[in-house]
Point group: C2
Chain length 447, copies 2
């Protein structure tokens, strides 16, 4: 039977977990998540979103304790965690827990890496803390999803704060009692509502979650008191933010099943739910040498979530383009790739893309899974091309390979950190588990 004292159960497990207990497969997946995360965070380092956030924060920041990835700036660890959390999500290119839509690394890794520059932390301890943080946030998300998201919450922020608190708390060595208080302090700070999608505020969510979770752990470390039942109490987090509370998802199989093993990585720099559509367009383009001028109409059958999250018909910015199934299909045909450059403000305003986008006709098909799509492209010459995407690249059944992750990383960081350091940074990520100082990754990721 599941334990009813959910918060304490989780806290006791986290406090007692040992690096040696982690299966090799989990350690490997942490390295993959870390590589992917460092790449997307560096990649966005010079984005306007980060420039603006830095301008706002710098006058109030503390000692230069930690690196803003991909930049020369150093901030206190709280603000560095927030900035790096924001940059993690600017491109919407970070990892995803498909069952919950949580982007697991964005709130956790920035807090942990900033801390690693401030207090000595071995790579093995980093890996353990990151695995536990991701485990906690994804389990907690599972307990309340999908109603939690349907209500209007952005689970990467609302659940991510738990991930940051648990990871930081573990790295600080909190005992079970203080860990429970850190978790409850996190519970009282859910950040992120869905109305913010399409603006810079979406990226703010994992950033503030990273910082709030970290603050929770530091407060608890000093003895700041909170509840022992922040998650499961009558007026606790799960009851306040959802109509569903499946606590067994949090407490069952702790230390046996690690949620990071279900982590996925995006090959395309946009909303994950449109990836099957892009996949299908790229495949048809390659098979038939398609160009925009050949096309009369693009019918796409999609999972219902696609029209809920990405129904932006006339995107006018790159950010809006990331949430437009219309533009996504068009750019798949036109470019044959869908990296960050294909989602720039300029790219979405190219007349060819705007014209093709208007020929896209999505239709909801309740029988499709989220990683599936069915395309039918009608050509101006009357031919009709069909493509069924059974599992999009990057989905659980068709994961990105290590080599693909490295390629994505190189594309993202090129021109931002010195070329001769890219290989070393990749190596540091793959070998994180054996580093004597995890903070080395942050220093190597400075511009």
């Amino acid at each position: 039977m599941s334990r009813p004292d959910v918060t304490l159960c989780l806290a006791e497990y986290v406090a007692g977990a040992q690096a040696a207990d982690l299966p090799e497969s989990v350690r490997k997946e942490v390295a993959r998540a870390l590589l992917n995360w460092v790449g997307v965070a560096i990649g966005a380092a010079r984005h306007e979103t980060i420039e603006i956030a830095l301008r706002a924060i710098r006058p109030f920041a503390g000692p230069p304790q930690a690196t803003v990835l991909g930049r020369g700036d150093r901030l206190d660890i709280m603000n560095a965690a927030m900035l790096n959390g924001i940059s993690s999500h600017v491109f919407d290119f970070d990892d995803t827990d498909l069952a919950t839509t949580v982007h697991p690394s964005a709130p956790v890794a920035p807090a942990l890496l900033a801390l690693a520059e401030h207090r000595p932390m071995t790579g093995a301890d980093f890996v353990l803390a990151m695995a536990l943080g991701i485990d906690a946030e994804c389990r907690i998300a599972r307990a309340v999803m999908p109603p939690h998201q349907a209500i209007g919450w952005h689970p990467t922020g609302t659940c991510g704060v738990f991930g940051a608190a648990v990871a930081t708390g573990k790295a600080l060595g909190l005992d079970a009692h203080r860990m429970a208080h850190a978790i409850s302090l996190a519970a009282t700070q859910p950040v992120g509502i869905r109305e913010m999608f399409g603006s810079m505020t979406k990226s703010f969510h994992p950033g503030r979650a990273a910082q709030s979770g970290m603050l929770s752990a530091f407060l608890a470390e000093q003895g700041y008191t909170s509840s022992d039942q922040g998650i499961e109490a009558k007026r606790g987090w799960a009851n306040v933010v959802s109509t569903k509370q499946n606590y067994a998802a949090i407490t069952d199989g702790l230390g046996e099943r690690f949620e990071i093993m279900r982590n996925s990585y995006k090959p395309y720099a946009c909303g994950l739910v449109v990836h099957p559509v892009i996949d299908g367009c790229i495949r048809l383009r390659a098979a038939h040498g398609l160009t925009a001028s050949m096309i009369d109409r693009i019918d796409v059958d999609v999972h219902p979530i696609v029209m809920e999250l990405t129904a932006k018909r006339t995107p006018s910015t790159g950010l809006e383009g990331k949430f437009s199934v219309y533009y996504a299909a068009a750019i798949g045909i036109i470019a044959g790739v869908a990296g960050e450059p294909e989602f720039s403000d300029d790219a979405v305003r190219v007349p060819e893309a705007m014209a093709l986008r208007d020929k896209v006709v999505p239709r909801i098909d309740e029988t499709l899974h989220q990683d599936q799509a069915r395309l039918r492209i009608t050509l101006t010459d009357g031919r009709v091309l069909e493509q069924f995407v059974e599992h999009a690249v990057g989905s659980l059944h068709n994961p990105m390979t290590d080599a693909q992750l490295e390629g994505k990383f190189r594309d993202l960081v090129a021109g931002i950190i010195p070329a001769d350091r890219i290989g070393r940074l990749i190596d540091l990520c793959w070998t994180i588990g054996s580093l004597s100082d995890a903070g080395e990754i942050a220093r190597c990721a400075a511009a």
Copy 2:
């Protein structure tokens, strides 16, 4: 008809409001709120809650820009706002918007006063920004209450973040567009769930709300984008955190009706809903010279909210005592006053108080208003004394006088700031509207 674009409507009003438009009565009430707030914040300056929070935060704090009230410490304005927001609420002795249970000053004044030490701000501008911040947070709370609180939210944190964003944004001179974005950035950071009541985390809520609202305004000032409809959108704040959305409460009568005119101040250092009970006990004590040993039983009829919020039967700490109708009644009889000393950890453990507390029998009476209570005390000699409290002291119909507020202030700050500065600080609060530099209050409130 009310405007449907709630966020923009509020933002436009705030951006356009002028100090000269404020009625004299509003300016006076801001001064009363300020005096009350400065007192409670200084009073808690040496409380364990603040010591712990400072220990956790200090290593990461920025330049010494702003005063932690009642102390020698200076922190960057973001962290000073958070600390002073926490201390505002440690004693649960701050002001209250009775219709919503929002404590209006705690999230607003700390942000504004910290800012006043960093950027030049006249007293008139301070008064305007504080009035607007309190107006915004109380209006927004009205729109979603009471279901918002019933779900489990702590409106002082969840609505307070709007107050801090609006006040800070006004002081920064944001235009309507950026003000709307500041409001929406606030909307995505609701802090505070009710499970935290009874621990230090309750006080954290207005502290983090002050800081989050302030951060929202600074981000928006630099051009960080957000939604124009953060409050009213389908997946906006009001729909996410409540089952009720009365938007007219936000948009109607802006500039004509000021919610601060309904502000109330506590004579007793505990949960407001038990004040009528304490009032009744103090009156019967005075009228009949009651002592604990004379009493066999205390029956109290109370509004239902009393049993929802203050049903702690056996409080073991001072903090728990503040949320115990049983202890509140007992201490009213035993002490005849109910200031902070009566809610210390030691006070609640005095055997006489524990024995009398066990003789209190509360009963819900749905016909009573929140500021009413009916008491019947049965004495050991068989006599029965009755008292009906129609309006508790500090309620809207029986407000604390200016002199009573000054008395409360003096009690709170005695021994924390130098005695020869107390009168000056009181004067500064009363004359805030004519100060050339509002930051003077913060410097005078340092230990």
